[in-house]
């Protein structure tokens, strides 16, 4: 059965009619399936939420224990049944490689298989399981970095840039803007992996999720809250991780001789870095770059591609050129500048 007859775009988000549930709805609904816990995909206030245990844990950390009426934790690759038992929708969560707990959701109805990939990447990331290509009829993809100018370098190379800068400017405090969920922990692990063993300092907003990651078994090394450092001058030559919004606010003025850095896929575009007054752009993304998007679609090889959000024009154009069937859903509200 044609997927567009039972899965469509609504103002709240994608709606699966026979299962009566929304995927990553932007407004409170009765039943939500959540791909991952970033704030533009997971909000509080749904009556029931189905997601991976890690995603639920993050949502509870952020929105409180009562973030939803009820929760249902699913394991990766575990099959669950939704909708009427006589005419069911089967549903399986697969790893998406985006952040801890992130999943692609496979919905199967009357023989048609649709994969909603959420946000995903193909670069390796020790904080989550790697993206798993799942055969399907319709592959629903994001297009955040879907322009051929986007080529994400390895995170090791970008972290080496940060350490080089620390060596050149030992008198400056290196303040790195990182989104608190996912990017922050990935950056810490990459720094550890290339041998940076000094304490890493945290803005208050980063602490809760770092603790959660540690409870989930991801070792981040020694982390110290900036608030607990009595002599802020001692932060010269050290790395401080803060949410991007704190990069140039009053809080940052307490730090000594700040050198502003930011870890984001957008940092590849000069003007984007400039607009945020970033002196040291670090191109680190939890999304696919252009080539990775095309390669993934090639590998999954669906009959049809639906594009949710981002630079959908370019991806649509390239896929059409390849002779694929593709359409842009043009969903708004799923892109935030700071976490990508």
């Amino acid at each position: 059965m044609d997927a567009s007859q039972w899965l469509h775009k609504q103002p709240q988000g994608l709606y699966c009619e026979p299962a009566d549930c929304y995927i990553d709805p932007l407004h409170p609904v009765e039943h939500a399936l959540i791909t991952h816990a970033h704030a533009d995909h997971a909000i509080g206030g749904h009556q029931s939420v189905t997601a991976t245990a890690s995603t639920l844990a993050i949502m509870q950390t952020r929105y409180g224990e009562d973030m939803a009426g009820s929760t249902q934790a699913v394991n990766y690759r575990e099959q669950i049944t939704l909708g009427s038992p006589n005419d069911p929708v089967t549903c399986v969560f697969y790893p998406a490689g985006h952040i801890l707990g992130s999943a692609q959701i496979l919905l199967c109805y009357r023989g048609t298989r649709v994969v909603i990939s959420g946000d995903y990447k193909r670069q390796s990331d020790p904080t989550c399981l790697p993206f798993k290509p799942v055969p399907c009829d319709v592959f629903i993809t994001e297009a955040t970095f879907a322009l051929p100018v986007f080529k994400h370098p390895s995170i090791e190379q970008e972290m080496a840039k940060l350490l080089d800068s620390l060596a050149v400017f030992p008198e400056r405090c290196h303040l790195v803007g990182v989104y608190a969920l996912g990017k922050c922990q990935r950056v810490i692990l990459a720094l550890r992996a290339i041998g940076y063993t000094s304490p890493i300092y945290l803005h208050g907003a980063q602490r809760k999720l770092c603790d959660l990651y540690e409870r989930q078994g991801i070792e981040l090394g020694e982390l110290i809250d900036v608030a607990e450092v009595s002599d802020k001058q001692s932060l010269a030559g050290n790395i401080v991780l803060a949410p991007p919004s704190a990069l140039s606010d009053r809080w940052s003025r307490t730090l000594p001789n700040v050198r502003r850095a930011m870890a984001s896929g957008w940092m590849q575009i000069r003007a984007r870095a400039k607009q945020r007054q970033v002196e040291l752009p670090l191109v680190v993304s939890d999304h696919c770059d252009w080539q990775a998007l095309l390669d993934t679609i090639e590998e999954v090889n669906p009959n049809e591609v639906w594009i949710t959000h981002g630079r959908e024009d370019a991806l649509l154009h390239a896929l059409t050129q390849q002779g694929r069937t593709a359409q842009a859903l043009s969903m708004v509200g799923y892109e935030s500048d700071t976490q990508d």
């Binding site: 051929p148 986007f150 970033v278």
Partner: protein, 525 residues
């Protein structure tokens, strides 16, 4: 080339200007001649030739990437050089050694026209994206890393431990890669002698007048020279035994565009004034001057119908002697003497307005607002020496109030450079009957915050797309300010605005209440 590319990256991302100057100073100390001289030329914008055309760059890229994807990438990135730097295929094998900056410059200087494209492609293929960006910006002379020519000169002064004024004076007489300059700064040779060079001298600029300045001037008007502020372009005329030239305020030699003025210049000296269209002593509007600007070689007919002249208001050299240290009233005497020796229809002396009290000053300002050839008053301290740059408290401009109209935003385009990816260029229109007709385009006058709001509004109200241009719902009113309205045959609306900018965003005003074309036409003088 590696060092130059690193310098540009560092300069680009560094915001503090003293930090930038430190970076450049370190580069000058660590880089040999002539590379550092070329780098100086690139930063100060004094490279005399383009290595290649932007068109060539684009064609090369289009033969390697799908044209639609290129267009979408460019639209997003907002700049050709950076788009190409990222899109260009990376080298698959170990890249060859990079040329030095001097080798690059020499290669492009010597290559034949047919081979420019191939040479460029070869270089791009051995470079990293930042190096490609550096080469493309350098080669198209479009380098913008937030460093002014002035601060480049400051760094040179620091490097050689000489006053920056000495660099300023020499600057326009020297050419890249500045071997003599560095030889002098390094103490290996005496200061270059430029006493008889036909060259541009840095000009003195004014500040917009503030209320407290005005109060001070009104209290003692006799200490000020008050003139009309003419609506033309600032020029400097240089004439000596070695030749003569007309320079724009930025030091570009524009002699070829104004042969009618040049041929009437014969008395030695350096004088400062406003270039205007002058017919039988009458001054025409800026709109008339526009016909002559950007024409490299005016036709005979144009020279006859739009003769140019200069309203002179200051002098830097009388014959051989530098008069810049004299006060304005003394320089005025020299200027009058110069004009007496160079009597020609193209040269007029800017009249000094007889003003002795506050009422007379106010009256002169009101009168200036009604005269289409002037745009306000100039208020100059009689005691002021001629100081290059914008010294504080010496010269003020008191421009007439801007004209305003409420117009509806119709189309938007993404900006470039710092504003890339924001919709920052707006075409706006006014009503004729029940139709909107575009009357102009504005891309300034709003704050960064307002820009974000406008950008957001445009994304949510876009109705169509023509290439990079977005059409939007006709629902948002901009109060636009402009200096004048001129009749125009080139625009469907029949009007052209001078220097339009956004004055206010009228989120509150319904589009139906925006101004009519007739109302705008009534502002034509």
């Amino acid at each position: 080339m590696q060092a130059f590319s690193e310098l540009l990256e560092n300069l680009y991302y560094t915001t503090a200007s003293n930090e930038k100057q430190r970076l450049l100073l370190a580069y000058l100390k660590n880089t040999p001649d002539p590379d550092r001289g070329w780098a100086i030329a690139a930063l100060a914008g004094t490279l005399r030739f383009e290595f290649f055309k932007r068109h060539t760059v684009k064609q090369l890229m289009l033969s390697r990437v799908d044209p639609d994807l290129f267009a979408m990438s460019y639209d997003y990135v907002g700049e050709v050089s950076e788009t190409v730097a990222h899109l260009w295929p990376d080298a698959t094998e170990q890249p060859a050694t990079l040329p030095t900056l001097n080798e690059l410059v020499t290669a492009f200087q010597q290559v034949s026209k047919q081979k420019v494209s191939a040479l460029l492609a070869d270089y791009l293929s051995i470079m990293t994206p930042p190096q490609r960006w550096a080469l493309l910006k350098l080669g198209t002379r479009g380098l913008r890393v937030g460093m002014s020519a002035r601060s480049v000169k400051k760094v040179l002064a620091t490097y050689g431990q000489v006053p920056v004024e000495e660099i300023e004076q020499l600057w326009h007489a020297l050419a890249p890669p500045y071997a003599e300059l560095f030889a002098w700064l390094d103490g290996k040779q005496p200061k270059p002698d430029i006493s008889n060079a036909v060259t541009f001298h840095p000009v003195m600029l004014s500040h917009p007048v503030q209320d407290d300045d005005l109060e001070a001037i009104k209290a003692q008007p006799d200490e000020w020279q008050i003139e009309h502020k003419y609506d033309g372009i600032r020029v400097q005329l240089v004439c000596n035994a070695n030749g003569k030239a007309i320079y724009s305020r930025t030091g570009d030699d524009i002699s070829h565009a104004f042969p009618d003025v040049l041929e009437q210049l014969h008395f030695h000296g350096v004088v400062d004034g406003e270039l205007l269209i002058m017919k039988d002593g009458n001054i025409d509007s800026f709109n008339a001057l526009q016909q002559r600007l950007n024409r490299k070689k005016p036709t005979k007919a144009l020279l006859a119908s739009h003769p140019a002249g200069v309203m002179l208001y200051d002098i830097l050299k009388y014959q051989q002697s530098d008069v810049t240290r004299h006060s304005l009233d003394v320089r005025r005497e020299y200027l009058e003497k110069w004009v007496a020796n160079n009597q020609q229809p193209a040269f007029q002396l800017s009249p000094m307005l007889a003003i002795h009290d506050a009422e007379q000053l106010e009256a002169a300002y009101r009168q200036a607002a009604d005269d289409p050839s002037v745009e306000g008053l100039m208020l100059k301290r009689l005691a002021s020496p001629y100081t290059a740059g914008r010294p504080v408290g010496q010269w003020f401009k008191w421009k007439r109030e801007a004209l305003l109209a409420d117009a509806v935003i119709m189309y938007a385009q993404r900006g470039h450079g710092k504003r890339s990816s924001f919709y920052s260029d707006y075409t706006f229109g006014v009503w004729e009957g029940d139709k909107l007709l575009p009357i102009g385009k504005a891309y300034s006058g709003f704050t960064d915050d307002e820009l974000k709001k406008l950008d957001n509004w445009i994304r949510r109200h876009a109705t169509g797309r023509f290439g990079p241009v977005r059409e939007v719902e006709k629902a948002l009113v901009l109060e636009v300010a402009f200096d004048a309205v001129h009749p125009s045959t080139r625009h469907k609306s029949g009007v052209a605005l001078r220097f339009p900018r956004v004055h206010r965003i009228r989120w509150d005003k319904p589009a139906s209440e925006a101004d009519t074309l007739d109302a705008v036409k009534r502002l034509i003088r």
